[in-house]
Structures are given as C-alpha cells and as structure tokens.
C-alpha cells in the first residue's frame, strides 16, 4: 500500500514534538475527519525556517506527510517553502495511494497556517 519512504517516515518520523515558544503555529484538519496536524516553526531574520516540529493525529500517510514536509522545508525561506505543493510532497514520499492524496494537503495547509500565524505575531510585535 505505502512506499518504503512513507513507511520509513511513519516508523521514524522526523521533527516530532513542539517548539515551546514558536514564531508560528499552524493547525490543519480536525479529529472528526480523522486527521489533524499541528505545526510549529521558528524563523530566522532572513525568514528562513530554522526549526520545525509537528504533532499529527492521523493515518500512516498523514504522519509521513507531516514528517517529510518538515524535512523539505527546514532551511528554506518561507516564500520558497510555500511554493511546495501537494504533488511534490507526495512525490518526495515516492507516491501516495490515490485515496490518500488528501493527506498531502494537510501538510500544506498546516504550513500556510503556521506562516500566517508567524506574520500575524510579527505584525503584532512590529506594532509594539
């Protein structure tokens, strides 16, 4: 069902956990639908994603997507990171079963939300 890469990321998910005082937090999905992801990011001065952590409730694909996404975006500038689309995430995982493609959206959405949160916070700080 799943590629070896998916199973690797499911077995040993990278960057699981939380950042205590993150620059941005994003949440996507919800438990009613069966998957939910929480993404924490820290961003440096150049808006490069310095640190990233996630927590996910969901199936194997949801967890693998979360894990690989963190690997794909860490070190990238926010703008570059946001250019990564679902298909790239799925490809990076060696493909996902058709019925699981929706999981790849979850990662994208959580990242967008985290960036949004970061920008909001930054605006608030700037405003101070």
């Amino acid at each position: 069902m799943y590629s070896d890469k998916v199973m690797d990321h499911f077995r040993n998910p990278r960057n699981v956990g939380e950042i205590t005082e993150p620059d941005g937090v994003g949440m996507a999905g919800n438990p009613v639908c069966g998957d939910m992801m929480e993404l924490f990011i820290n961003v440096d001065e150049e808006e490069r994603i310095e640190e990233i952590k996630f927590r996910t409730f969901g199936c194997g694909a949801a967890i693998a997507v979360s894990s690989i996404l963190t690997e794909m975006v860490v070190g990238l500038k926010i703008e570059e990171a946001l250019k990564i689309d679902n298909k790239q995430i799925a490809d990076e995982l060696g493909g996902l079963p058709p019925v699981k493609m929706h999981c790849s959206m979850l990662g994208r959405e959580a990242l967008e939300k985290a960036v949004e949160d970061y920008r909001k916070k930054k605006m608030a700080t700037a405003g101070v």
């Binding site: 199973m7 949440m27 438990p31 069966g34 927590r55 409730f57 969901g58 199936c59 967890i63 699981k100």
Partner: protein, 395 residues
C-alpha cells in the same frame, strides 16, 4: 518475530483438515460434476456430500443449499432473488443500519430500481430493537434482511424475535450469518429464517466459497443464467474443490463450536480486560454480553486506527480498524456511527478477532506491545494533552 494474527473476522487460513479434503479435487479427482464419466461422477458425489454436511450443520435439507462464490454473492443473490421474485406483492424491504456493505449496497441498488428500504437503527451496543422492526413493517413489506452477528463489533441480533414478526405476516426473512457461523449456533428452524448467507473463508475454508440456504417454497429468482447447475439457481461449473472444502469447514466449525467458543471467550475477555487495565481512555465498542466469542473492539482515544494497525503490524500483530482511513473514505465505519459513537472516537477503533491458532501467550504478547504503541502515537497526537490542563476533550 512473533506473528499474532488477530483479524479472523477479515479472513482465516485454510485449516489443514480442509486443505486435505480439497486437494484431491484439485489434483486427481478433478472432474466436472456435470460429466457422465467416472471423473464427473466422483465430483458429483463429493459435491452432494458437501451439500449434506452444510445442510446438516444448519439444520436444513440438502435441497435447500445453493453453493456460491462467497458471502457477498450469497447476500446479493438472496436479496435480489427475493425482491425480484416478490416485487408484484410489494416493494418494501427492511434492513438495519449496521449490515455489511454486501447487504446495504444491494438494498441501495434496489432503491434505485424503485424499491423502498427502511434501515432500522441500533442501540449504543449495536443491537437492533425488534419493536423498531415491527413499527417499520408495512403492508407491502416483502423482505427483512438483518445480520445474525456484526462483523465489526460482534453484536448478536435478536433474530428469533424478529423472525416471529416476519412469520406472522409471511414476510421473507434473510439473515447474513457470515460472521456467526461456527461462533454461535446457526439453526434455520430455531431462528425461524428463510434465507441464510454463509461464507467459507471466515471459517477456515477457502476464499471464493460460500452458500445460500433457501427455505423450500421461498419465491426466488437467480442472479446468473447459464448451464443448469445448482438447480438453475446458481449456474456455472461447480467449484468442486471449493465446495468440498466449504462442506468440511462448516462441518468442523459447527462440530467444534461449543468447546472452541468457550475457549475464545476466555481469550477475548483476557484481551479486553487486559487492554482496559493497561490503557487509559479506552472505550469498549459493542455489547459485552451479546457478543461473538472472538471479538474485541475498542476505541483508543486521541489516536487514529490506521496508524495503530501499522504500528502493531511492525510488532507482528495483525488487527483491523473501523477508521475511515482504512477504507480511504472520510467517514469512519457506518456501524460505529450507527451506534452513536463520535467520529473522532470511531477513527481510533481497533478490532481484534481471535481464532483457532491464538493462545494465551498471543494475548499476553499483544497486551505487552499495545500500551507502548498507544503511548507513542498519543505522544505524537495534537489531541492528547501535552501541557498540563490542556487535554482536548474528544468524547
């Protein structure tokens, strides 16, 4: 690595006695049961012997047994067969919300063709209330189709009581006994039922085998047309090795039932109680009393079923789940939903169904492995309280 298969409601291995019974019919006794020569006559004899065994196991007459390619075909054949034969009398069918998809989808298909279907609900334990069936009855009700025992939560339905309602009104009563056969007694007269679906691969017979019991005198139309096999009710060259294996599997399952059911119940309770002791925020799904002897179904709160299955698989433990993600849909199991279980709890359901080869050691191995897996997945879950006082309430 130890391998513990706990998914016997999904399928079972073919047991050695059954394999032994069927092998000659794959090899030297390979004749077509419709052939006149001795290859054919040997095959014919074997088919009729299997028919007798099957009939005897459920208290029927051999003439009332039709062999099929499995439970799904039996359900389709039964429901369409009766509906199309009786449609001049009426076009109303009663079923339950927790049936297998082979029943639900066939009913839905009939709805598209102009039949009306009432789906009675179940209580929190997954059990149908006969009074609800009674109030669903209409003058044009021609068929009631309710399963004997549920494949997900193992709940056992009050078939004999529903049968009384059907009998009084001459409504045909079909029962899907795919999950109950060999686990609890399935006797057509005691239950008072007109059609019964059976499947081989749930009782240590081969996949692609099954049978439909059709009570003498039942109005019926076949689904296939062709050579006259199975008295025209199910044409097609008889799957002789499959039929022989099915007959032997039914015979053994029913013969061993009393003892094996008792053994399984002990294992089941050890597993269920052991999980409840070791894992917090665990919910038992289904009745603890009106339950198949081999079925454990729990929801692990804050965790999703598919990832549980995958983690358990890494430890050699095979289980299933009613999570949406196991089927690729967004909706979790219709059975758990019909029982009023919240989506987020249904997503974390875990079904463990015991079988002949399982031992106390297997159960203890599972009890040893599950807690750490649950702990690990929960620690990854945003729903589980990581900071004090922050547990997200999902129940």
């Amino acid at each position: 690595m130890r391998r513990v298969y706990l998914d016997h409601s999904a399928t079972t291995p073919v047991r050695p006695e059954v394999l032994e019974a069927m092998l000659p019919y794959l090899k030297e006794n390979f004749g077509n049961a419709s052939s006149i020569h001795s290859f054919g006559q040997d095959a014919r004899r074997a088919v009729e012997e299997a028919r007798e065994k099957t009939a005897q196991a459920i208290g029927a007459d051999p003439k009332e047994i039709v062999f099929t390619s499995g439970g799904t075909e039996s359900d389709n054949l039964a429901i369409r067969g009766v509906a199309l034969a009786k449609e001049k009398k009426g076009r109303h069918i009663i079923t339950s919300a927790v049936e297998h998809h082979a029943v639900l989808d066939t009913c839905e298909q009939l709805e598209k063709q102009g039949f009306t279907v009432t789906r009675v609900g179940v209580d929190a334990d997954g059990i149908v209330d006969p009074a609800e069936v009674e109030s669903a009855l209409r003058d044009d009700t021609i068929l009631i189709t309710i399963m004997h025992a549920n494949n997900e939560v193992g709940s056992i339905q009050p078939i004999a009581e529903i049968s009384r309602l059907a009998r009084e009104r001459e409504i045909t009563f079909h029962v899907d006994a795919v999950q109950s056969l060999g686990k609890i007694p399935v006797k057509v007269d005691e239950l008072g039922i007109d059609l019964v679906s059976l499947s081989g691969h749930k009782i240590y017979g081969p996949k692609g085998t099954g049978a439909l019991y059709i009570r003498k005198g039942t109005k019926f139309k076949p689904l296939f047309h062709g050579g006259g096999q199975e008295r025209k009710l199910r044409p097609g060259t008889e799957n002789v090795p499959g039929i022989v294996a099915f007959g032997r599997a039914v015979e053994l399952a029913v013969h061993e039932l009393p003892e094996e059911a008792r053994r399984l119940e002990v294992l089941r309770d050890r597993l269920m109680d052991g999980l409840l002791q070791r894992i917090s925020e665990l919910k038992v799904n289904g009745s603890r009393i009106k339950r198949l002897p081999h079925n454990v179904n729990v929801s692990v709160i804050y965790v999703e079923g598919e990832s549980l299955i995958l983690c358990l698989d890494m430890e050699g433990i095979a289980v299933s789940s009613g999570s949406a993600c196991t089927s690729g849909s967004l909706e979790p199991s219709h059975v758990l939903r019909a029982m009023g279980i919240a989506h987020e709890v249904a997503h974390g359901s875990l079904r463990m169904t015991l079988g002949r080869d399982n031992t106390t050691e297997d159960v203890d191995y599972v009890l040893e492995k599950v807690p750490a897996i649950v702990e690990r997945l929960r620690s990854m879950s945003p729903l589980y309280g990581h900071r004090e006082g922050e547990t997200v309430v999902v129940q």
